[in-house]
Symmetry: C2
């Protein structure tokens, strides 16, 4: 007994997408709703899969089932396939579970041959129409099924137009079309060695197999890869009675959305063309009419269509994208599916559908793709503006910006402070550039990937950035960039679009982000639903305020090193590093103390009532010193010229300190809490700054919740040593100031060993925050800066990795370690608070993982807080017990 491979439309339903594909399932559903769907049947995806598993042979019994179904269609329509009186014409279309528009093959007008074409001409009283159908069919069949080159047919078409002396296909006469059909058939026979099949059943069999084959063509494969569609689910094949929109003035074709796909407004939205086929609309020779005018042209049809739209929308409980054809005054519905829409339309539709009682809040929340929100949170280019694209890089940080080209952070800062708009253009950025990034409108780099320093920092700050734009040749010495041979000097106005990666000439008008009422309403629902809380990473009062506005319920990570990078502080920081004795170092630290205190004062104040996690100094000290190569160049010059021994000596001394601090693998070097172990006085200064700021705020009546976070912990002993420094300093300051401050001390888990020993460390820590950037680097032995843009793309291309682990958290490896640490930590300390900071905290798939593994919160860039809130709610819905 064979499987059932063929379903008449009346035998299927919408829930059978796996078996019948999206298109087929919806055709079935509409048929059963009593809608005017041309009859037909669907060959299952299972048949396609068996075709592949059986060495590209159709499964046994398939054709018998097809002929049985076909007989049913013939009975319904009263027409017969290949009949010389009333021939049935069919379309054969692919239709996978997930929409893959244009990727697979279609054959229309199937059933035509030298006999039936005449009948069609007679029945329609339109010889040209019939031969045009036939001509299209032969070409399509020849191309798709028999794999004759498309250009072979184009050539004949050109000859025919030349012979007849016309310019457009539509001008070709019936005679010309007849000639073309005969030429096409000759060409096919000469290319394939077999005559064009005249038997419609053979045509149908071959077409079905061609659609199966097209599942595996290059572009379909590529499309699935980039859209994360599995490669092994196969396509269904829909065989359906042909209807023609080009049978005269009472025929037509169109497509409509039940709501606006760009704004979500509740009104029919679409276009149609009378006396035309779908491909005419696409070809763009005639301009289609807005759907509303159909009411004037044919009110009855319009009303019928309108009520069908209403029915389909309430049936499917979502905005629909519907294709229809009117054949000689009769409306046919050819397809319905959930309509694609912009981010703002998505939100509007979901919120409206809830208020219309069609869906629940949970469903509304599930309707939005979290990543889509990103576009709503940044400025964008005015879509009506015209502009010239100079080059394209990676869309590294969304939003758009215009400004004058500058090449250094200092310049960006001085011009920025003077009120100029600038774009900071660099080969790549380093932590030294922070003040420049802060001052610039946007960042453009010629090197680096989606998680390069420039990209990460820009996203974090909500600055637009285009990275890895390799068409860009930067010549800092001459103060210009070159793109395809054209030079653009410093000070030239350019624009970048960080959402698309485009680099644009001149200034472009911008549109500010508009957070709609629906947006806020939806995120409110999300917060009601989610278990996971969302905090933000913020290093300044401005960022903290931003985060709060985006709904963050605390700061999960304040990095203190950015504060050290301010140009007026760098000399003091360097003084501290170059100190020869503890006393010298303490002098420098004493100068930094009031500055740090002000930093913390501002952030704690902005976040009053909410927790603020402050991470102690993390990067290796050499990041605050000049690079050794720069010094080597200066020293070599001084040596060769031999005219300034004093400067030479001084530079040599500096170089020797830089070398002493230089590290082979700085990521695994003298950083994080290791700095505090070596120089406890740095930790004490930072702790004092935190608690002095806190004491002031408490006295001023603010409710503050500082949480001190120790980075790079690998064992209990070092955590205890660091904790003691913090606790002792806190106690001292609180006694000095005579106030009590509620605070916590916890640590980052970013080194595998800390995860492995989370039970030991958990006994003495108040919280853990998983630093998944570094944890990924160490667990996978993968330096982010060295991997991305270098060998990681090869891994993705060769499918040795599914996704970039710095973007989507590696659940199998890194996730296993986190899961282990969560269990160990909670077993040792049931009250421990567990969160994640770092880029993954704002990535929906990773947020889902955080929900599953039982974390208390995620912390991400302020601009990704809404995305994380939505993702957290979706995770809660998806994994409701």
């Amino acid at each position: 007994m064979n499987n059932k491979y063929v379903y008449l439309f009346r035998e299927g339903k919408a829930s059978m997408r796996d078996l019948l594909g999206g298109k087929g399932a919806n055709l079935c559903e509409m048929t059963n709703l009593g809608l005017p769907v041309p009859p037909g049947f669907t060959i299952t995806t299972e048949a396609c899969n068996e075709y592949y598993s059986n060495n590209q042979n159709p499964p046994e019994g398939l054709w018998d089932q097809v002929w049985t179904a076909l007989a049913d269609v013939e009975a319904t329509t009263g027409k017969r396939f290949g009949d010389k009186v009333n021939p049935l014409l069919l379309s054969v279309r692919s239709g996978a579970k997930f929409s893959m528009p244009g990727m697979m093959d279609t054959v229309l007008n199937l059933g035509l041959n030298d006999d039936t074409v005449g009948v069609l001409a007679a029945n329609t009283q339109n010889e040209r129409f019939a031969w045009d159908c036939y001509r299209r069919f032969v070409q399509m069949f020849g191309d798709v099924v028999l794999e004759v080159e498309h250009s072979d047919f184009e050539e004949i078409l050109e000859i025919a137009k030349e012979k007849q002396g016309v310019k457009f296909d539509s001008e070709l006469s019936a005679e010309s079309l007849k000639w073309m059909v005969s030429e096409y058939k000759k060409k096919i026979e000469s290319k394939t060695g077999i005559p064009f099949p005249v038997d419609p059943k053979i045509q149908l069999e071959l077409s079905v197999l061609a659609v199966f084959r097209s599942w595996n063509n290059d572009r379909a494969n590529f499309y699935r890869t980039i859209n994360n569609i599995p490669h092994d689910i196969g396509t269904a094949v829909n065989v359906q009675v042909m209807v023609f929109g080009n049978m005269g003035a009472d025929s037509g074709t169109g497509v409509a959305f039940t709501r606006s796909p760009s704004s979500g407004e509740h009104a029919l939205y679409g276009e149609y063309l009378m006396n035309a086929q779908g491909e005419d609309v696409v070809a763009g020779i005639r301009t289609p009419n807005p759907i509303a005018t159909l009411a004037r042209e044919n009110l009855e049809i319009y009303k019928q269509f309108e009520s069908i739209c209403k029915l389909l929308e309430s049936h499917y409980r979502d905005m629909q994208d519907i294709e229809f054809t009117i054949e000689r005054g009769k409306l046919n519905i050819l397809q319905t599916r959930n309509g694609k829409r912009t981010a703002s339309a998505s939100i509007r539709v979901a919120v409206d559908l809830f208020h219309e009682g069609l869906i629940t809040k949970e469903e509304a929340v599930m309707r939005i793709e979290p990543e889509q929100l990103d576009h709503l949170l940044h400025r964008s280019m005015d879509t009506n503006a015209k502009y010239e694209v100079l080059a394209k890089g990676l869309p590294a940080s969304p939003g758009a910006a215009s400004g004058k080209i500058v090449f250094s952070a200092d310049e960006a800062e001085s011009l920025g402070n003077a009120g100029e708009k600038v774009i900071l253009v660099r080969t790549e950025t380093t932590p030294d550039d922070i003040h420049g990034i802060l001052a610039a409108q946007g960042i453009l780099t010629s090197r680096g990937g989606m998680t390069s320093h420039a990209a990460v920092v820009s996203r974090h700050m909500g600055k637009p950035a285009v990275c890895g734009c390799d068409a860009l040749k930067i010549n800092v010495a001459q103060g210009l960039i070159e793109i395809e041979g054209v030079e653009y000097h410093q000070g030239t106005m350019i624009s970048i679009d960080g959402s698309t990666g485009r680099v644009i000439k001149g200034e472009v008008p911008m549109v500010d982000p508009q957070l709609s009422a629906e947006f806020k309403e939806l995120l409110g629902w999300a917060d009601e639903i989610s278990r996971l809380r969302v905090k933000a990473n913020a290093d300044s009062p401005t960022e903290a305020t931003n985060a709060r506005n985006f709904g963050a319920v605390g700061i999960g990570l304040t990095r203190t090193e950015h504060m050290f990078m301010h140009p007026e502080r760098i000399p003091i920081v360097q003084e501290m590093i170059l100190a020869q004795t503890l006393e010298e170092r303490e002098v420098a630290l004493a100068k930094l103390l009031p500055m740090q205190e002000e930093d913390f004062y501002g952030i704690l104040k902005a976040m009053q009532g909410l927790p603020v996690t402050i991470r102690l100094l993390d990067p290796p000290l050499h990041e605050f010193l000049p690079h050794s190569e720069e010094l080597v160049v200066e020293i070599t010059k001084l040596r060769v010229l031999n005219n300034d021994p004093d400067t030479l000596h001084q530079k040599e001394a500096l170089l020797s300190k830089v070398r002493a601090l230089s590290e082979l693998n700085p990521m695994l070097g003298h950083r994080g809490c290791r700095l505090g172990v070596s120089y406890p006085e740095i930790t004490v200064m930072q702790a004092r700054a935190i608690f002095q700021a806190g004491a002031r705020l408490v006295k001023e009546g603010y409710d503050i919740h500082p949480e001190v976070m120790i980075p790079l912990i690998i064992g209990k002993e070092e955590f205890l040593m660091m904790r003691k420094l913090v606790d002792d300093t806190a106690e001292l300051v609180m006694r000095e100031q005579n106030v009590r401050i509620h605070y916590q001390v916890g640590n980052m888990i970013e080194v595998p060993r800390a995860a492995l020993l989370a039970d030991e460390i958990g006994k003495v820590a108040d919280f853990f925050s998983f630093g998944t950037n570094d944890l990924t680097q160490m667990t996978m032995g993968l330096s982010r800066d060295d991997a991305q843009g270098k060998f990681l793309p090869v891994y993705l291309e060769k499918k040795l990795m599914k996704t970039d682990p710095f973007i989507v958290l590696d659940r199998e490896g890194v996730g296993k370690l986190i899961d282990m640490a969560v269990k160990l930590g909670r077993s040792a300390n049931p009250d421990i608070s567990l969160g994640i900071c770092g880029e993954h905290g704002g990535e929906p798939n990773s947020v889902e993982f955080c929900h599953l593994v039982g974390l208390d919160y995620v912390s991400c860039s302020p601009f990704r807080v809404p995305i994380a809130r939505l993702a957290a709610a979706q995770a809660a819905i998806r994994h409701k017990d």
Copy 2:
């Protein structure tokens, strides 16, 4: 009811070391054996511990128990403490569970006061003797118990000698001594405010407490830390009747070993001095006599002593170190303990004791400290030679060598090839220096720790090395080194002792290592006992042969990159790296193929019958190119001088490639299997070289077992890709050559993710080898090169880590991961072979861990194979179920 804090010697036994300390337990044991031990009692370690836990107060009931025990001693001896007729004199000595020679305090001649000193003079008819005893007692008591400065007493002594006009203490008259006692007492009263205690019971109480206190003095604390003795076990106190070796010609004192502590030869070995106390032997004013001459002096005493030695040795079943005192013709045994001995004596004694039927093979194996063997496996300096030590560095690789100073690897090689002996002197070494290290007799560096590149490579090659010798200023430009202001030019002969870290002027006579028959016999027993097999890491046929001679049962790691570093190959390797296209790269690879084939041919042949694990190319490619800073210097010079545009251009091009390949964290960069993923042709070349070499050997009749090891694996997919390259190449070569080769393909586990996914990877791998060097670096987030000699010492000093995790495997963290991987790997593939390669494989504590966790083998440097074999056997014995 109080605990029993005091044990008479007849109440204790040897097994009570925890409670009575080593010395006390042995005094008890000897007493019960009926040996002539002066009577006494031991105050327990428990009393000491309660003293500390009770805020430095003695436990209740302690003194009552002391007085009861003292009464017993009085009864035994017929003397009475403080008695004016027959006074009892006591010694009070510390004695912890583990010997801590000289670290804690002792008080002798206790019980003397102005009354009893006269009785002693009368009874011994020696006034000077009595007052000398008293003088020493007051000084010792003042110093140790009352904490009066030692120099205060020295001052008085000097005055006394001056007054009497003599030079030595021994020349002081009874009158002078009397004067000194009175001055000492005055000084004590003026310093402490209380008079010197005349009541012997008070003297005893205070002395016992002083010994308790001395457990916690600085030098005892330090000694425990460096010898890994717990700080919380306390010391016992031994109170014993004084015997005097200085009571005339029929008195004397001495110490003897039951076998030679340097060779292990079975004969009494020691020395004695008549009419002397122990401290006279130490002071070195008189030369003691060899123990054998005692037979001539007093045959009866000698025979008694000889038979006691025999009894003690067979009773303790080990070579004994025995202290004795003859008081007026009567032999007293004051101490026995297991004698310290050299490595060769250790082995000889253990093997002899087995053959004498005193111990089992297991016991013999347990008697040897594995690390001791290291000294036996390398050349050493002739101990009779005289030499001048110039500086001291770290004893980085054992053995000694002499040679001329050279500063570059190339120079070392060319002089070495010309037959010269050279010492390669470098700030630090890099993989580029391998050929120089190979050619040199030894390595001396001014930077780097025990696991720096120079140290690791030298130990691996069995070359002596002294590292991190910071007294050394290297001036390569002028071709000299400077040590404390003295210059030593290139070509000067120096010597280094890698076992002690000494750098020595000129050439020193050397002694070759001698592997005794006992050594081999013992290791044979070890192999019978152990479960863990021992393989070696070897990169050349010579090393492989070496390893085999040391008992390795295979090669666990052959690094192929060292083969790439040969000076004649480097240009070809660079050609391969700089290749712009696949074709260019394949041309270079084709040149390397025959060279690699020869490498593998040699090693496989040397190890025929045994498995050889060959690791594919591991380091990042930039390691084979010049350093960017060197290039920057050259380019800057060329630019400033502006006279050679062609060279400038060429250097700039090279620099740009070096920069393109440069990495921020090369350890986590483009290396290991990632090279094979990017350039499969490199993997194919290496596989071809292995199997072509194998095919030749099979045809020549050799039995070979190559195992191809893929480095840096982090997932199943990449392993499968690499495995396929190897399998396909193997199949191809075997078909071409028409032979079958039995081979395996497995991978390193050196990245945490591989350990976490060991079940997935284990399904498709034939073996795992844990690369614990890198696994430690990544699990702990600790770059070895950056940590050692920089912040790691701070961690050890502050006790945040117990040991250097690159020397002793971190069981808690890294070990947990290995344990997990072993279980996951075996669960997925019960036949999988599991081993470890890297430095830990030859370190006894880590070898024990490998045994416990259930690995099949360890692999280490050839020169550490005997150590690992012994450690493996000891682990098996220690953890017998």
